[in-house]
Structure formats: structure tokens, C-alpha cells
Symmetry: C2
Subunit: 315 residues, 2 copies
Amino acid sequence: MKILITGGAGFIGSNLAHALRRNTYFKTDELTVVDNLSLGKKKFISSLIDDKKFFFYKTDLLNFHSLLKIFKRHKFDLVWHLSANSDIGYGARFTDWDLKQGTVATYNVLECMRRIGTKKIIFSSSSAVLGEAEKMPTPEQYGPLCPISFYGASKLACEGLLTSFSHNFGFQVWIFRFGNIVGRNSTHGAIYDFIKKLKKNPRSLEVLGDGTQSKPYLSVDDCVEGMVYGFKHSKNKVNLYNLACEGSTSVSKIAKNVVRNVNPGAKIQYTGGKRGWRGDVAKVRLDTKNMKALGWVAKCTSDQAVDKAITDLVH
Amino acid sequence: MKILITGGAGFIGSNLAHALRRNTYFKTDELTVVDNLSLGKKKFISSLIDDKKFFFYKTDLLNFHSLLKIFKRHKFDLVWHLSANSDIGYGARFTDWDLKQGTVATYNVLECMRRIGTKKIIFSSSSAVLGEAEKMPTPEQYGPLCPISFYGASKLACEGLLTSFSHNFGFQVWIFRFGNIVGRNSTHGAIYDFIKKLKKNPRSLEVLGDGTQSKPYLSVDDCVEGMVYGFKHSKNKVNLYNLACEGSTSVSKIAKNVVRNVNPGAKIQYTGGKRGWRGDVAKVRLDTKNMKALGWVAKCTSDQAVDKAITDLVH
């Protein structure tokens, strides 16, 4: 199978790339990564560069003609589309950022697939499409979807583009709505930010919000494994799943854990307010019964995933 | 109140413009129409042109700077955003058409509002966001939303943009998911197409699909009145309603009715197949209990709306 990973030098993409080249899950004949390196880092995939069946292109998905050339050259069987802006707060300051980096970029990927004849795509959507759901844990069947961030709006727009391309051109699509993902190579998120802040100022850690925000944190290994499992075990035209773990972890718990690992004497200071930033959904719980029905559960609980991620990132 | 109607020279927009200038529902101090006249027609609003409190701009919503100038000049209190591509089949041939004319155009409208300080927007969404719903009649709470047309994907993307702008910048938004709307000044749809075809070839009427497609047809007067009613009677930050009538009408019934009115001797020929075109949702039923709970019901049933529309359009 010839696979493209967009955002493949990023957090989840680089973890996936390594797993695929190890042929952990199925035979990957050829693996291509496209990344504009705005968030991704070349060092995350440097150990793969010498591999003759691995190809890397520093390309922006908004550059349609460059992207189409890559599609023409490799004629992918499967696209793993992970590229996106992951800084939700940034989208509230530059309101067209997610529209371009998320919605238009995704359209470009889908249109390249259509022109070349690639028919399968796996897409990283997000619980952010839900907005502030009234029902928790929230199932895939929840509506109406009223995202409160431009990131969430863009992920919702992408879901619609995927299902439309599927219906009109026979694509088979797998959409996974992630909770928060944590682990090695992360480039954003609470754990990453807290460690960075504490290394800069070891005496005090500023935490955005009141610390009561709580979400399910999924380890990146479980995330990669879950996507592969869903891809292998669901065969509809449109396959849509929440991808999350049992339980949740509060932001204050994460802050205390990071402090304990980096500098036990540091004081934690909360900026206050229910949210960390505009567009932050303070409480997320995802119903994972549909992935369970396929036979998959995350190996780590939320707290275990957070512990492991802190250890991996601090040391 | 100073009001902008985008797509105000189009089908629903022109009917709305006339109702607002008559001050049918509330006092409209100033009414502005922006339309690129790609589907809309100047003759639909020609009787308003001499009105000193009416302004018309032939502008494309994709021209952000022209649009912003209009916003700066008029400082609208309310935007009635009706502009969109209404030819669903066209979107399957030119896959970026709805992305541009729907999603990006809507982003431009919202961003102009943010820059100028306009805080209220009424938006015409569509049952097309639902795709092929398993539950009928379909309530607003239905999920997941898997649109099968680029038109539906774009309307879904717009809904997410509206709710994001609402949360981040304090906008108040009214989203109405329309079924099919029929009546005077229509520029597309089964009734319009059938009359046009029969006038060209009076002996035979070709109908796309097998004729069993059936949908709720709402009269454009009920549509305008329903939006105004919803706007006046719901005051949340995000207000989302299905806007439809009781019952439904089949395409074959519409075809027979048009034939009877235009040329009773004409033969009806069906192209066959469940759908009229790629992306056509063959069966739509919208649950209207939320509009009912506000105190609104359509005056005409679906069949009555169809009858009246055919009479208005033929004669």
C-alpha cells in the first residue's frame, strides 16, 4: 500500500510514520510525508529519511499545484490527512487561519485524490466540532453541532467535504473525532506548554483558566493504534468514530504533575475563568461505545496517558 | 433598523426585500441589497429602486474589500445572509464552487460584521446538511451530519462559522434549515425547471429520477414570515430551527401538475433512478416541533404551496 501522511512531520503524524515504516499494522510499500514544517519538525522523522521507500516533501497544502504533482508521482492508495492548525486560540485572533489551513487545505487534498483516483482517506477530526455539548459522554449521533472555535468550525467543514466527496466520487472515508492527544513529539497542548513555561521560569507556573477544565487525554500510541484498528475493521463508505479513552484528567492535575516532575517547589497560579482561552471547551467527554463495538479500547486511561506523556517529554 | 440582504435580488431575497420595505413585520429604516446577479435579477427588485431608503450594490461577496466598504458606509444592525449557489448538481462538476460561493463568501460576510460591529445575522441553511438522514421527520438534534452534496457541505461549514463567530465575538445568530422553497421569482428547482422545459418542448417533459423523490415544499411567503417570526421570538446566542411545512409532495405530482397547467397533452418521461442528480437527497422530512413550540406553523401545506407556486410562475 502506498500511503501519504499530510502533517507527517507533526505530532501525531510522526508517530504514525514510524509505526507504519515498522510495518506494525500492515505492509506499507511506500510512505510519503508532506509537511510545511510550520508546527512539524524534520527531526521527528529524521531517522526515516535514509529509508528508500520513504519520501518527504516540504510543501504547503494550500499550494495545490505542488500537491497535485506529488499525487501524480506517487499515486497513493491511501491518504492519512492529519495536517491542521492546532493552536485553537490563534484562530480567534486570525479568523481566516483555520478556514485556510483546515478547510481549504482539506479541499485541496480531496480534489487531488479525485483527480488522481485515490479513493481512501483517514481524517483526524476533533471533539471541537461538538462545541459545548449538553449530553456527556457525547456520542457521534449528537446534534446540533455548534462549534465555539474556528478550529472546530473547520473540522466540521472538513467532515462535510469528506462525506460529499465520498458520495459523489466513491471515496471511502474514515473520520476520527479525537479528544486531546498526548505523548512524544507533541508540539502544543497543556503538558507541552506547562513544561516549556516551567523551564523558562522554574519558580512559578501560570495556568490559563481556573484549572477545572477536564478532558479525556489519549496517548498518541493508542491514537495511532485506534485509527489503524478502525480503518481495518469498518468498511462503510463513511466511517465516523469518537476516538478517546476512559475517564478524563483535569488541567490542575496536569499542572501539579508537571510541577512535581520539573520543579517540585514551583507555585501554580491560575488566571481564573472557566476557559483557558476563547474557544476552549472546558469539559469534554466522548462516548466511545462505537469503537468498543468494533472491538477496540484504549490501553491507557486518561491519567496514565498524561503520566506517560509528562515522563516522555520531561526526560 | 438598518438591514443588509445578501442575495437580495434572488428568489427568497427579493421576496424578503419587498416584505421589509412594506414594513410588514417591523420598521426597516434602511434596506441594502448586495447581489452579484449571477442568479438574482434586477427586475425582481426594480420597484424598490426609487425608494430613498433602499440601496442596491452589484457586488460579489468574494470581493472582500468592496463588501467591507459597503459595511463601513451603512453600519448595518442586521444581516440577512441568503446568498449562495443554489444549483446542487453544478457543485458536483465544479467541486470548489460551493466552497467559494458558500463557505468563503459567508466567512467574508461574518468578518465584515466583526470589523464593523454588526452583531446580528439571520442565515439560510438547508436540510442538505443532513445528508440522507435515517430518522424522519428529522429534528435539529440529528447527527452525525453527513451531507452528500457540496452544497450541503458548504451550508454545514457556514453553520459552524456562524456559531464560532457567535462565541468568539458575541454575535447573535439565527440559522434556519430550509426544505425546498417555492413561489414567485424562483430561479431554480423542479417547478421552475419543468415550466421552462415544457415551454421549450410542449410535447414532452423530461423528469430527472423516477419521480418518487418527495420533499416538503414551503411557500416563499411562509418562508419569509417564518424567518421573521423565529428572529422575533427566539433570543439565544445561537438559534437553530428547521423551517418547513406539514407534509411533502412528490416530484411526479409536481410534474403532473405543471403539465396540467402548461400543456395537458404533454407526455412525462422519467430518466429513472432514485435521485434526480448527484447529491440529490431523494426523501426529506423535517421535524418542525421547535418552530411550533415558538408558536409558528406554515400557512400552506406542501401541496398547497406547490399549487400556488405553479399558478404564480405559469401565469
